[in-house]
Symmetry: C2
């Protein structure tokens, strides 16, 4: 069987100018990065914003399991299938972080015959967006430490600096560090830490900004820490939002690439789905909505995290609301939610599937709470049995949710036609009537309680002492009017990763709240949230290489 | 008076495809980065390597002073002037580091009417080379720390790790740090530090590599530290040279841009001129030599550092040897070498000029030791008086070195014609007979003594105890067959930055030796060498901004 990179390298790519032509983007509005990648100019975005909006389709998933669900793959394959049946379609996808690529993943641009290309570039430096974000983030850090060193006019308390440095790598040794050591010439010694770039607030800002001006306003609003008197210090107090925006001016422009089948895809931005909102950029989605009749996009992790944040945080920044949500599930993963161990997944187990279906059913009900129709995509695996497939279809019918099998990994566009047709039928027959879960002017506690009780299925929220103090501070600073970005394990509806299926009657503990004034949300931490992954014993990097003519080896 | 960025933004750029056409580069061999930047494919490099070689002209300078010499500006202006008088010319220049741009410099792509464009892009992310180097450097760090954390199979002594992390920023607080703190899950606690990216050995490697294969071999040869038994640990022991080369595969390709006058310029690589060799990439220079009849390139700092390293370290990697060396001087700077304070430079002072001329005269003599003809370029300033100019011309005549005034900053190509004609005449009448200063098979001590006595004008080398121990270790490891890369203050021939002019009878103290097996040289440190600059009290970043249409403000 061919690997992803072998499939990708066997495809003859179309010039990106042809893809742009197909998407009705003027050649003059392209900023080429090689022959097969381009950024869209701000003019192109403004032009697209004037057009009628296409249908917005979100692809999300059940709670992820080690069995793998293939959400990005289905997103890409669904779009290819829509193109295949004659619909004018664009994809709006997140761009991968190099850290996981070098660590475990080896690549993150779809899989099999549902990939965005050139996968080597997308998985490595792409058009430099991640590097620009890393640089802007760390330039701010350097400017903060320089401010301390040069006399600390703003009276910043070095013990209460929230802003951390970042690298776009998995590097656990940088999670907690001490800086400024060795000499008075080396600045003020203090504790610091590095997050992975995709966890930077600047990534979230870039993905929520609606224009360069809006980007700059958001950057100016970042809270970098507190003064000795506990009053907040903003980036605007340091007067460096202009420099940061300058560093980010090209990174803000969406990147155009293509799928294996030549479907245009805007791959742009990729914030973490725990500490941030986990969706590609507002500008890419908005542009795609102006260019295509069908825009397929995705959100990180399961629907309790990714879709909730998409619907409550991202959608209010978009010019339109979602028309349908596709929930990806696999029979393997549902069986894990039903209690089967990973090693036993190849055995037929209809009982476990029925039990695990509760996870999917709750996600379907959740999406319906937003007034948006749901469609289930069963991402087929060779181990799925006929009995299991029929059971799952019957279960879906029992809750009246349309369902389709997809096999886009193995069959590409053809493998997604059933799903595409089911989706179109849903769009034609079930109008969306989107409504948010909560209102921003509710209290912090009420907003969190809405998410916990209505989406997670919990019955109680416990605010730890620290969180209570922080809520008081947030209210005092006038920041309580912002939406909530929940940081919770992706593996369970609860904050306990071992509680699979659809747990009930549990409490969610809020340990800490972090103001992200630039992104425009308050992060609520429910447990240890990993913002800097580590490398495994045998990192994927060990298998990577490049041939003398520049061909990439070992990405997959 | 217009600022550099205002001049740059007033120029109508030619499409980079036109510039490539002019340089006889096939359009198919271009990898476009927007409309005005492109990387050359490896095929383009191979094609160019087959051609006859053009004249190689190095631009260097007297020891720099706070008065400023304008070496890059003269390099660009000279090339424009050569083009202007009908010579087929290319520039091979270093690319700027973002750290100094955000710090003091605000920009580093020439000045006035002698600039490479688009200056905003070149000064910011350009084509991402710096970011790729940062990423490769830090990926290696993460892999080293992961190796320690996962059981340390190679028995690496965490106290003897040479490899440091980097950021492409001025960030003094990162010079000395403690990492791996906080939890057993966060790796092995140890001391570490960050250099600026241009000080990374990977930057030196990228600039000396002759092919992708050679790059990989050099990466494999990096010594990252020592085992508990003091034996060296190479990157090849970690088996990650393939991954690092993959990260660097595009960064290795030279970047094509244009000057204000449309002269093609390869701007590629920019290693520090103290800890490394301070020249643009071998691949860019080699490619330019195959494409043009005249290739103008530069080396960092004064000729004692930059030109010496160009001639002894870089030239052996080139397919040809230099045909002439242009030494840039200003009357202001020579007066400082003659003892005038910066505040008094606008006053005419022929005596000080005569005294300071000793600095220039020694650089001329030094270049002649290599068998390469020297030409002096006087970069004019408004404060220069007629008497001073005539004196300097007479002084140059007294040592029989051709001299020409240049005013390329103010007048562009026209302002460089006199220098271009003087250079052409020199090339036509004085054939170069290049010979290296020392042979690689001499001892470490003999090579350093050759540089100190023949170039610096010192009479003694003192090897501190630590340096002696390290030399013994270098010999034991079989590394003594490599050239020497001196790390010394750029302000003086000596290791004392306050000894201006042409000091004599001084000793140079070698404190430490650092093996750079990938770059292929041994660094000899003569004092505190700054590998991570700091930001000033009012960083250039404070003046930077971007308008809503994406126009850069505050680069200069």
């Amino acid at each position: 069987m061919k690997t992803d990179i072998e499939i990708a390298q066997s495809v003859t790519l179309k010039p990106i100018t042809d893809i742009a032509h197909k998407a009705e983007i003027k050649e003059d509005d392209l900023e080429l990065y090689g022959k097969y990648k381009a950024k869209l100019s701000f003019d192109a975005i403004l032009e697209a914003e004037k057009n009628d909006k296409g249908n917005l389709i979100l692809v999300t998933a059940i709670n992820p399991t080690p069995a793998g669900e293939g959400k990005s793959t289905v997103t890409i394959g669904l779009a290819d299938a829509l193109s295949h049946i004659g619909k004018k379609t664009m994809i709006a996808l997140r761009e991968p972080s190099l850290g996981p690529v070098m660590g475990v993943k080896g690549g993150a641009a779809g899989g099999g015959f549902a990939q965005v290309l050139p996968m080597e570039d997308i998985n490595l430096h792409f058009t430099g967006d991640m590097h620009a974000i890393t640089t802007a983030n760390n330039a701010l850090s350097a400017l903060i430490d320089n401010h301390l060193h040069q006399g600390n006019e703003l009276n910043i308390d070095p013990r209460r600096i929230l802003w951390k440095r970042v690298v776009d790598l998995n590097d656990r040794a940088l999670r907690q560090v001490t800086i400024g050591l060795g000499s008075p010439l080396n600045g003020i010694p203090r504790e610091d830490g590095f997050d992975i770039t995709v966890a930077s607030e600047i990534m979230a800002i870039l993905c929520l900004a609606t224009s360069l001006e809006n980007l700059k306003e958001r950057l100016a609003s970042i809270v970098i820490g507190y003064r000795y008197d506990r009053s907040p210090v903003y980036v605007r107090d340091l007067k460096v939002e202009g420099a940061l925006a300058l560093i980010l001016k090209d990174a803000l422009k969406p990147n155009l690439v293509q799928t294996i089948y030549g479907t245009p895809a805007l791959v742009h931005g990729g914030p973490f789905a725990n500490i941030a909102h986990g969706c590609n950029s507002v500008l890419a989605t908005t542009t795609a909505l102006g260019l295509a009749d069908y825009v397929v996009t995705e959100a990180g992790f399961g629907a309790d995290l990714g879709a909730e944040k998409f619907l409550d945080i991202k959608v209010p920044q978009l010019p339109t609301t979602p028309d349908a949500v596709v929930i990806v599930a696999t029979i393997r993963a549902l069986k894990m939610h039903g209690g089967v161990a990973k090693t036993d997944l190849t055995d037929e187990n209809v009982d476990a599937l029925e039990k695990g279906f509760a996870n999917l059913a709750r996600h379907v009900a959740n999406i319906r709470q937003y007034g948006v129709p749901a469609v289930v995509a069963i991402n087929e695996f060779v181990s799925d049995t006929e009995a299991e497939i029929e059971t799952l279809k019957a279960l879906c019918a029992s809750i009246d949710v349309p369902v389709a099998l997809t096999s886009v990994w193995a069959k590409g566009a053809e493998g997604g036609v059933a799903l595409a047709e089911t989706l179109i039928k849903t769009l034609d027959t079930k109008p969306s009537d989107y409504t948010r879960l909560y209102q921003d002017n509710q209290s912090i506690e009420a907003k969190i309680e809405a998410i916990v009780t209505k989406i997670y299925g919990g019955n109680k929220v416990i605010f730890e002492k620290k969180a209570q103090t922080q809520i008081a501070q947030i209210v005092k600073n006038g920041w309580d009017n912002l939406p909530i970005c929940m940081a919770k394990t992706q593996y369970s509806f609860s904050d306990d990763p071992t509680l699979l299926g659809a747990p009930e009657n549990f409490a969610i503990t809020i340990r800490e709240l972090v103001p992200k004034l630039g992104a425009g949300f308050i992060v609520a931490l429910t447990g240890d949230v990993m913002t800097m992954p580590g490398l495994p014993k045998a990192p994927a990097a060990l298998n990577m290489d490049v041939t003398s003519d520049g061909t990439a080896v070992g990405l997959f």
